[in-house]
Symmetry: C2
Subunit: 114 residues, 2 copies
DNA sequence: AAGATAGTTAGCCATACACCTAAGTATGAG
DNA sequence: CTCATACTTAGGTGTATGGCTAACTATCTT
């Protein structure tokens, strides 16, 4: 229990699946129950549940159970991890693009795309 | 060939691995060769090569070969895909946090963390 | 030409992933 | 009490992932 560890690996792994991204998109509009989240004939429930559990273990989502209904809500903070990583990288892209430009205007070696 | 398809799935999958993230971080400082990128005793070359190929197939990285040396450089555009997705989501987080706040101040149902 | 260097290919292995069906457990409605 | 609803658990399947060793190719260096 308490296996809820938001690591970059886990967070990005969650995002690497369209079903899980769809859930996050849906939850960004507000809390929702399992059956609401599950698109009608898309997937068997147990398979879908697994995705929700993966999301929950990564801390991207929290769930509570009322009676027999479990509802999910977004838990943004872990997403900031991913966001931050990309932010840091993005700062370098500009530099990198400058360098690229420099290389293209001063061709030292022919870029042969083998 | 030309299996270079930057999809959200592929891009996020690349980012879900610390070795691959490290490569991207390294390349954000400028182009580099395979052996430079491979940390000394971290991993066998063929295993490392696989990561580079995964990055290249996702379009995050491009490579050229000069003589026996292959060098890699960052290819930022696909990263923008990931960046954009998170951007869209982030806009909702604020709204979502507001809703959360609203729920916390107007408790309709006890949030029992089962 | 011989040897070192840089990368590549082939093939193996264990574990993780994404899906399924079938059967089980609460819980709410009638 | 009975039945439907809403999940849950158990267990199985095929493919993908992430790692390895061993052996090979191509290119410098001497």
């Amino acid at each position: 229990m308490a296996n809820y560890l938001p690591t970059l690996d886990r967070v990005f792994h969650c995002l690497a699946n369209s079903t899980r991204r769809r859930v996050l998109e849906a939850l960004s509009a507000g809390p929702s129950t399992m059956t609401e989240l599950a698109e009608p004939g898309e997937m068997a429930m147990p398979s879908f549940l697994q995705h929700l559990q993966i999301l929950e273990e990564a801390g991207l989502v929290r769930s509570t159970k009322n009676g027999r209904v479990r509802s999910y809500e977004l838990n943004p903070p872990p997403l900031l991890l991913a966001d931050n990583w990309l932010d840091k990288q993005r700062k370098h892209w500009n530099i990198c693009l400058d360098q690229l430009h420099h290389l293209l205007t001063n061709p030292e070696s022919e870029p042969e795309h083998e």
